[in-house]
């Protein structure tokens, strides 16, 4: 057994841990603490894997995913592929508190966020634009296309499935190798 309360988070994102703890000390709930801890990382762009200005998609856009779960009520709020809103965990909290839904995605999640008072803004930065430009210059490697033409391990798209005649009979089996990570 360990003493309570307890804050635990992945990776050495110390400021997130601190922010969550301070929220608890100030009388906040466990949910408030998770929200403030994750929001700290969104603001600080932890490791460039959280928040704006990181992980541009093939079109160069940064989109965000977040969820928050209340272990007392088993209520959840989540956003997927959220566009143009920086505080993804804040929007997830609004989904939990102001809807009967669990997960909102894409442009519609952005519309919901704006209705909740969040500001719509560009999530790209010079760093993410440079990262994307380099990727394009390297023939769009790595990418996550399989079984397409042109050969995705050599060329950029646009891609399409090989013609039916030539289609490889065996179903493609992912190995899980050389994956990036969320």
């Amino acid at each position: 057994c360990g003493p309570l309360p307890l804050v635990l988070n992945t990776w050495p994102f110390q400021n997130a841990t601190e922010a969550a703890w301070e929220t608890l000390v100030a009388g906040g709930s466990a949910l408030d603490a998770v929200e403030s801890g994750c929001a700290a990382c969104e603001r600080e762009q932890c490791d460039n894997t959280v928040g704006f200005g990181g992980s541009p998609d093939e079109s160069g856009e940064t989109t965000l995913d977040a969820m928050i779960m209340d272990g007392t009520t088993m209520n959840v709020g989540a956003v997927g592929a959220l566009r143009r809103i920086k505080n993804a965990i804040g929007v997830a909290r609004k989904v939990l508190e102001h809807t009967a839904h669990t997960l909102l995605v894409g442009d519609s999640a952005t519309k919901f966020a704006k209705s909740m008072g969040f500001i719509s803004e560009d999530l790209s930065t010079n760093a993410s634009r440079a990262l994307h430009a380099d990727w394009l210059a390297q023939n769009c490697q790595p990418n996550y296309w399989r079984n397409v033409i042109p050969d995705a391990s050599k060329y950029c798209g646009p891609y399409k499935p090989p013609s039916i005649l030539k289609q490889d009979r065996s179903t493609y089996r992912e190995t899980g190798n050389n994956y990036g990570h969320d």
Binding site: G2, E18, L24, V34, M67
Partner: protein, 141 residues
């Protein structure tokens, strides 16, 4: 990706994640992070867990839900995390991923899948004993 688990002093639990996903993903791709039971899961009767790694693979195994179920069955948080990693590794030996687990008594643990380039997983802990945010490391299995 940040995955976070909080156990309140009254035993209330919460968990959450936030991420900008996978570099150069196909537009529209969503990973494990926002999926309840994959990116994070919490239940006051047991505890909570959160996961990080390559979400396209991990989400298929609902790692944080599974970790909570192992803890419900009496497993220690560290063992619950290890069992989840082992389940995924059976099908995808080279997956990149880690899981953090905590139960409502305040015990916690973590586990990760050992790769040539990933042998230790670093995570943060804060409780009345540590008295400040403390980094811990776990050797990957």
């Amino acid at each position: 990706t940040i995955g976070m688990v909080v156990i309140h002093k009254m035993g209330y639990t919460a968990a959450g994640t936030s991420t900008n996903g996978l570099k150069f993903k196909i537009p529209g791709r969503v990973g494990d992070s926002p999926i309840p039971g994959a990116g994070a899961y919490a239940e006051d009767a047991v505890g909570a867990a959160a996961a990080t790694g390559n979400g396209d693979i991990m989400m298929r195994f609902l790692p944080s839900y599974q970790a909570v179920e192992y803890m419900r069955g009496g497993e220690d948080p560290a063992v619950a995390c290890q069992k989840v990693v082992s389940r995924i590794r059976k099908y995808f030996p080279n997956f990149f991923g880690a899981v953090i687990c905590a139960n409502v008594t305040g015990s916690y643990g973590a586990a990760c899948n050992k790769l040539p380039t990933f042998t230790q997983f670093r995570f943060m802990v804060y409780n009345p004993l540590t008295n400040r945010p403390t980094e811990e490391k776990v050797d990957c299995i």
